[in-house]
């Protein structure tokens, strides 16, 4: 029989932590700091509005772009909270999570052989999505000495005649790094000078602990060459609902929409109804969750530094990214032994691409009690090395 698997599918490496996953599932009493999702339940008013809509028979397809009322409400929200002007008629598409938004954005812009720069460490799907679209993913390393912000010189170095776009994600998964307006300005100058497109994944925007989030598209002259991705998963504890959105100038949005209508048709209507309720009335729930993450971040990061794992203070998202270099173990060895010996699950940083090695991603989206217990276990592990 022939090998039916496409070369592209073969080209994508399997997930680096499959074996960790399988191991953790067989163990008892594991504290997992490996989960990149909120530990809160979705606020009940969101759930209830979705349940009610199902009772009312709201179970059909929606327009490809998403429910008009959701797009209108979202458009107002983006303007009010981030100063982002996107027209609800033709510049916003509701997607099945940011994952889908990312995929269709890349497919809409990549020609075979185009190089797409990815600020790394980064979320695991960016590079494979570029590969699947026939492009070439080119990592740009963000380093600890820059507090994991994207360095303009590092970016400049990677640009060639084939470079088409830059993908960034701030607040960042896995480092928690944030780019302020000046940081973004320096990047914007290069993007404009080299005539690149910017894809910015801002799904952790609401989880910003120092000051307020700066949307990349609000940096002057960037809007017309930016695709903004965001979603409801992280801010409103709605990961399983699969609702995200893509915002871009009309021409770009039209191209993306063609792909969206063929691959997804529309985001699930129940999720869209829940998302609408989230914007309308879950502001306080969101703020309470963000405040709790902030408290956990403070105590957890201080704790990691105290027990001997140097950790920069993450200004956003819900990840701490400690360095393990001085232990003499690689991040993968450290993570594997920590799981086996002390039953704490963390993600080795190298999973997230260049710049991630010798670091661990520890999600503090678990209770304070568990964080304290995890710190104790990691300390015991370090003493035994």
């Amino acid at each position: 029989m022939r090998n039916f698997i496409s070369e592209r599918a073969q080209e994508i490496p399997p997930s680096g932590i499959r074996k960790f996953f399988d191991l953790a599932l067989t163990m008892e009493d594991v504290i997992s700091l490996g989960v990149g999702e909120p530990d809160f339940r979705t606020p009940w008013n969101i759930c209830e509005s979705s349940i009610y809509s199902i009772e009312q028979g709201v179970t059909s397809y929606t327009p490809n772009k998403g429910l008009p009322v959701l797009r209108e409400t979202l458009s107002g929200y983006l303007q009010q909270h981030y100063n982002l002007p996107y027209n609800s008629d033709n510049e916003i598409i509701i997607t099945s999570g940011v994952s889908e938004a990312l995929d269709i954005a890349i497919r809409a812009i990549v020609n075979p052989g185009d190089e797409i720069l990815i600020a790394q460490p980064s979320y695991v799907s960016y590079a494979p999505c570029v590969t699947l679209a026939g492009g070439i993913a080119v990592p740009v390393q963000c380093t600890e000495s820059d507090r994991f912000k994207l360095n303009p010189e590092a970016l400049q170095e990677k640009i060639t005649g084939k470079t088409k776009a830059l993908m960034i994600n701030f607040p960042n998964n896995p480092t928690g790094a944030v780019m302020n307006r000046e940081d973004l300005r320096a990047i914007a100058d290069i993007v404009i000078d080299k005539d690149l497109l910017l894809i910015t994944d801002e799904v952790y925007a609401e989880l910003t602990y120092e000051g307020s989030h700066v949307a990349a598209a609000t940096v002057s002259d960037l809007w017309q060459r930016t695709i903004t991705l965001n979603g409801f998963s992280k801010a409103y504890a709605m990961t399983g609902w699969r609702v995200g959105y893509l915002c871009a100038p009309k021409e770009l949005c039209e191209a993306v929409l063609k792909i969206h209508q063929y691959v997804m048709l529309c985001a699930p209507v129940m999720g869209q109804v829940g998302a609408l309720e989230a914007i309308r009335s879950a502001e306080e729930d969101k703020n309470n969750m963000v405040q709790e993450y902030r408290l956990r971040r403070n105590m957890f990061v201080a704790g990691l530094n105290r027990i001997g794992l140097p950790t920069h203070v993450p200004e956003g998202a819900f990840y701490a990214f400690p360095s393990v270099k001085q232990t003499g173990l690689s991040d993968t060895e450290f993570a594997e032994r920590l799981l086996k010996e002390q039953r704490v699950a963390v993600v080795p940083g190298s999973v997230f691409g260049v710049g991630g090695d010798y670091h661990l991603r520890c999600a503090y989206a678990v209770s304070r009690k568990h964080l304290t217990e995890a710190l104790g276990r990691i300390e015991t592990f370090l003493k035994g090395l």
Binding site: F21, V35, E37, N173, N298, M299, V351
Partner: protein
């Protein structure tokens, strides 16, 4: 009262048993500053007491709780204050509030059994001057107290890893 004080109050309202060290780690304040701020809030009377939320039904002491509503004729110069303060002195009255609506005062009263509650209302509360009408509601079951659910909730299952 500044933002840090409000942050401390929220933390203590959720769990008043946290140590100054634990609160300090969460708020990026020095433990001594946490203690000083809490003492100041206690001294100012903003923090009234440290208490617990107990599921008495589960503890099984058999006590009966009731909500009692009162229509009251307010007093010249004092309004509802004097009668409310007078009612507050009864040990049996756990909570007392002035409300809008059909009734004026709302009391939470607990007693060993139904007879004790009803005797308290008929002998002590109803005969008071200026009380025109009472309505007593016995609490059958409590599902949520002070933001805390009193019934068992299933833990949501999460994957050990996700990105």
């Amino acid at each position: 009262m500044n933002e840090k004080d409000l942050e401390l109050l929220k933390i203590l309202e959720d769990n008043s048993r946290l140590s100054a060290q634990e609160i300090a780690a969460m708020t990026n304040l020095a433990p001594s500053e946490v203690e000083a701020r809490i003492h100041a809030l206690e001294a100012a009377g903003v923090i009234r007491k440290y208490t617990t939320v107990i599921n008495w039904e589960m503890a099984g002491n058999g006590e009966v709780s009731s909500i009692i509503e009162l229509k009251v004729s307010p007093e010249r110069d004092y309004g509802y204050d004097r009668i409310a303060e007078s009612l507050s002195r009864f040990r049996q009255v756990k909570t007392l509030r002035l409300m809008t609506g059909t009734y004026d005062l709302q009391l939470l009263v607990t007693g060993k059994n139904m007879q004790e509650v009803s005797r308290f209302v008929s002998e002590h509360v109803a005969p008071m001057d200026r009380i025109r009408e009472t309505a007593t509601h016995i609490i059958m079951k409590s599902y949520k107290e002070n933001g805390n659910m009193l019934f068992e909730q299933k833990e949501a299952e999460r994957l050990p890893y996700s990105f």
